[in-house]
Symmetry: D2
Subunit: 422 residues, 4 copies
């Protein structure tokens, strides 16, 4: 990207983050409704800190930070960058105020744009990839903003609405079927074209045994069958850790579902609405996805299988339901011209693969080496992006990852099988 | 009180609460920095709920609440009034917004004043005592607002200031001495004149053995001697529960103290300032007060002793350092015309008495019976009010109470002795 | 006591401790079924350590301990005597073995007896009171052994029996009535005659208002009325801390009660048996006693009231149901020649008094000062001894103390009233 | 195996379990020193329950269990077999006594042997595989017995010794080097010959990229270099979860190491001894192995790499240091005729592979399906067996698995590299 393109993209992404926050009241920006959630104003500040600390501080001679304490307050987990506010007390900080955080954004935006314009070519070559990485980082926080706002508002007894929405028409999703793939040696991971995270590289060969992949994600309707069949009360369907979690968390449905007069309702960013059977099920944990698969006599796909299928069928993000659509909710699948539906967008799909380094993995040099590599334990890979992901952020090699019990992201799944079924 | 007086007092107290909040940013209203602390906007709402739920709801035919959910959100601990938001998640609620809470206050204020004006005499006789009780309740929350705001701001790395303050002149406090009292049968508790809580009644006889009471509270200077003598590292000075708390909480000084380059500083509502040796020590727990007393070869006074001394010497709140002074911090004692200094105001004084019912205690009838009686276990009595207490709220029979490990109130102590020392 | 008497008493008490353990299997000696419980072999060792560490080590020139590590393993809570095994992991120590602990007892017994014989008069005067104190200490552990063994065996799904027992005949207890007392100044506490703990002294004057005391402890039958009337489900009957405990511990009956086919059974040291309505209720917490009293429109007596009543009516331990009776269970009251039944023995009676120092309290000098004084917070006083207390250990001034939620001791209660009822 | 062989193997394995316990005192059998550890008598009972519940109960008409409660007490985690004692309170059960457990073993042994003799051929075909599986199960518990006994004794301040041992001669291990492997499609997993667990099957193709594997496990000497280089204080070496664990557990060395006067000592089953630099490091967690590898600029091998290397070089268990050697401790490597040393025995080797199902995995039918499959989350694979593993229990396809933070097994590791180094 040249300077103009990058500057333009910088502005676009930075504005989008603020647009997501526009419907909020000042008070909403302050809340941390659980440890996984960060206050929206912290997201606004942290994404700004990233540009200040990683770029301005490093590449501006005798740089003076806007506020020394922001380095402490807005650092997330970078040991290389010094101390930080413990994650679980981000919601105890009333200051800086929302207005001060926006001023912080404006000031850093200006400095970054100035630097992009003023840097000589040699420095630009160093800075540009970091700015681009910072924008991908910010896009990840755009998704987190959406899911965190959802959690914050959903916890509130007043049930505030983020954005009014019409209930979907209630169409009928395409029937469940499976797409078969033969065994093969496959090149997994990102090549050198375009941006990718270190954890998607290097591209390398894997052997994939024959398998079949479901044409679309599992729906609410299918998930309710599992529930009605005692899915949450039969320990034999569950991983041992999963069953412990069902007990300790008293799970009996996906997150945000609630029984209202014998029918299931679900909190959305548009308020409480009936559970729509045709929509992909979402806000389920890996444990629930795994239990459903066992109940169904299937399993979850590995990330190799998922990526192979996506590459073979050249699934694209163009038509997907992403943040750009401002639906803030997955929608029912509709037939289109390929066998695999909703691979991109709507819901992140749990795979049966642990989040581990690829053979030959090299983490980023310097402090950004902490970005991905240190989380490679006790997490599972998810693929494909969701209705909260920016469209141009996703790709078929993209690896998202969460612990097995997390549910506040737009997480769903599709099934796979060892046989060549259809 | 007649209607005009009561209406006037109602307005005065209600306004005072809001005045305390005036220096706050919107974001400050939302924070719960620890379980003991409530978000300021919750205090504003809860004190309003009290008038709505206890009076309007009960005495207005076919009363319709302003918002049904407020009954859930702003109930503190009254089982009689139904369910409530768990105390430890009050800080997860962004709504109602601060502005909405203020509107709630205005609306209920108007309704209460209307009711006071419109009630016939018979109803007025029923309502007036409840309104008065509600105002005393609100004054308790005024004190909590001050201490909670202090905690919220002090936790913040930016160290925001509530109200600028000049450091005190650094005078010298009167020397420590003791005032002797002979053994006697004494009438403890409140008589029927004026307002008192149920827990101050009935007045009853107690036998008080001879004792001596310190002329003023223990100062920072005296407390630093205890610290310098290894007070926090010698288990033999401590109650067993206290020593466990020292270990688990890693206490080595009063709350809000911090060592800055070898000298002790303290966070105040006016910002960080040097610890002033002449001022009464505050933000210490019962455990610390008890350990200091053992170190000093003395003990804490019982509440009978404290009240006897206060009554014998007719200590008055007139000259004390209270919320009305807007100092928001205890000040050094100065000589005046009585032997006992600072009995009223500055710091609440831990006594060696557990918070238990007086002989013949009758809790309030109805739901307000929950107000005091159900907390009569595992708490100690404090006497005398603090710099955050409204002056007209305190009296010599007033019993405050907290658990032994609490430190976020303006709590201090004075010593007593079994002998007739001077 | 002269040397022969003391030596004889020493042997008698030491043997009694071992007799209590005789029905145990080796494995029973090792278990810590909850933090409050200590493994029986630890009790055997700790009571021996007491004599070794407090007497032999201090009064024998160049004393060499039997095993250095025993000083670490068998110290309970004496900071003055150095480090100790954390209380909650006493049950992780398989060694020393039971046999080694008995050998330890034998060796120390011999040394103590030798020292008592060999000491010159001056030294005997120093040692004798410590030996006596050590025997009272051991008697306290005899009671704990009984209650700890009960807990250990009751937890076991095999329901082992400590000692076979016949179910009581099922007689009818005397009807509930109250004994009236006029207001008076009363001398509370122990005088200088005979052994007493520091916490019973000094004797001092208290003013006791008029009151009435129930003729006997509350029975199982009466307690079941409370239960049947929703006692465990009505928060308005409970102290706030108590109601939290009911919820977190899921209490719905006294400890050791269980519903078997619609009727209440209770685990005893003689096995599972039907709850006998005429027996005093036991294994209830302070919270439960307090809730029952509120339900009954009464209250618990203060310790002053209890002791005044005991002294006025000269209640004696002679006829009580104590450890000496080997019943290991409270029995139904029977009429005898006084108005107050079962003041001594059967069940410890919760009072409404916090465990606090008496006016003029002086703790023991030296390390034994830790014995009682440091526990004077967050505990309530119990009076009168139980079926697990040695008869010659109890007296009317004796103050036992436990936290409000403890239930594994033989704890019951009787009611009091502010009026002069009968 | 025919009946005689199976009966003979049954007796041999069952006797071996008891032989492991022979050095114990009765008290040692009862202790659960942490949740992961089970009391030795529970292991003795549980392995017996397995034969009774899985075989006798199912294949003996109108079978009457020895003791109904044993089904509750000795069930480990089989939901299919009903309720069980919570794992973390196994150490609160004194009964059944050790002697009763041995009698239980004898009685069930006799019944199993009788059944093997009396079964007709059709039934024998059903029973024999279950008996064999039960023996492999018992061998796993033999290893757990050794590691649990080690933990129980090591916790004890008296430092009891399980079996006296001579300190090793202190030889010099072979220098670190790497063995190179080219990329290839490899058949991972067990074929149909001989016993294997369901989790080793089916054999399937994987693509293994070129890599190098270290010739022997990392030694104490090498690990001390890591420690001396600040390994435990540099967060950048650690996985995020690992660094949290270092902090919360306060790790600064492998489990059982302790600093005695400036030199590292280690608790072994033969008592405290100096850390021997030439021996493989053991009792390290996955997190520590991973951090060491990062520090060394290497990584851990995947399980595919490990198994490929083992199969290519035909490593055998014949010469390894196993339970059969009764060393109860890893020994220094010695040169022999292959390039890969100590692949089998000494220490389990952490791999960088998560414990997940192989493609085409089918869990055992019936209740034994719970044996392996439900643990396939949040655990890492270990390979090769240890000095506590029975020799005939291990094979190159064997997959052991533990959570990343576990250290009480004999766990070590060797390094791998993406390049073809030597």
């Amino acid at each position: 990207m040249n300077r103009d393109e990058l500057t333009s993209k910088f502005s676009t992404v930075r504005v989008m983050t603020e647009e997501i926050c526009r419907p909020l009241q000042t008070e909403d920006y302050v809340i941390q409704s659980m440890t996984d959630v960060s206050p929206p104003k912290w997201h606004l500040g942290h994404t700004t800190w990233f540009f200040e600390r990683v770029i301005l501080q490093e590449f501006t001679p005798s740089y003076k930070p806007l506020n020394d304490q922001y380095y402490f307050i807005f650092n997330s987990y970078y040991q290389s960058f010094g101390d930080r506010v413990a994650r679980d007390i981000r919601g105890t900080l009333s200051r800086p105020t929302v207005e001060e955080v926006y001023r912080y954004r404006d000031a850093i935006n200006k400095r970054v744009i100035d630097l992009l314009g003023a840097a000589d070519d040699k420095m630009y070559q160093k800075i540009a990839p970091l700015v681009e990485l910072g924008l991908h980082h910010e896009q990840q926080h755009q998704e987190l903003l959406v899911t965190d706002i959802k959690h914050i508002l959903s916890m509130n007894p007043l049930r505030p609405t983020y954005k009014a929405r019409k209930t979907s028409a209630g169409g009928r999703e395409p029937a469940q079927s499976f797409v078969a793939f033969d065994e093969q040696v496959f090149c997994l991971g990102a090549d050198q074209n375009g941006f990718s995270w270190d954890n998607e590289r290097p591209q390398h060969k894997v052997f994939v045994n024959k398998f079949s992949l479901m044409n679309r994600p599992v729906t609410n309707g299918e998930y309710m069958e599992f529930m009605n069949d005692g899915g949450y009360t039969n320990p034999l369907l569950w991983l041992s850790d999963g069953w412990d979690t069902v007990g300790s968390q008293q799970w009996n449905a996906p997150l945000y579902w609630e029984k209202v007069k014998d029918s299931w309702q679900v909190m959305t960013l548009g308020g409480l609405q009936p559970v729509e059977p045709a929509e992909p099920v979402t806000h389920v944990s890996y444990y629930e996805a795994n239990a459903f698969a066992r109940w169904a006599g299937k399993r979850l796909p590995t990330e190799s299988e998922w990526e192979l299928a996506a590459k073979v069928h050249q699934v694209s993000a163009d038509k997907g339901n992403f943040l750009d659509e401002r639906a803030f909710h997955p929608v029912a699948a509709v037939k289109n011209n390929g066998p695999l539906l909703q691979m991109m967008g709507d819901v992140w799909e749990w795979t049966g693969s642990s989040y581990l380094p690829y053979p030959g993995y090299q983490q980023e040099r310097g402090p950004l080496g902490e970005y991905n590599g240190k989380f490679m334990s006790n997490q599972m890979v998810l693929r494909g992006g969701s209705c909260a992901t920016p469209r141009n952020h996703i790709r078929s090699t993209y690896r998202n990852f969460f612990q097995c019990d997390k549910r506040w992201q737009f997480t769903g799944f599709r099934l796979a099988s060892d046989t060549n079924e259809r």
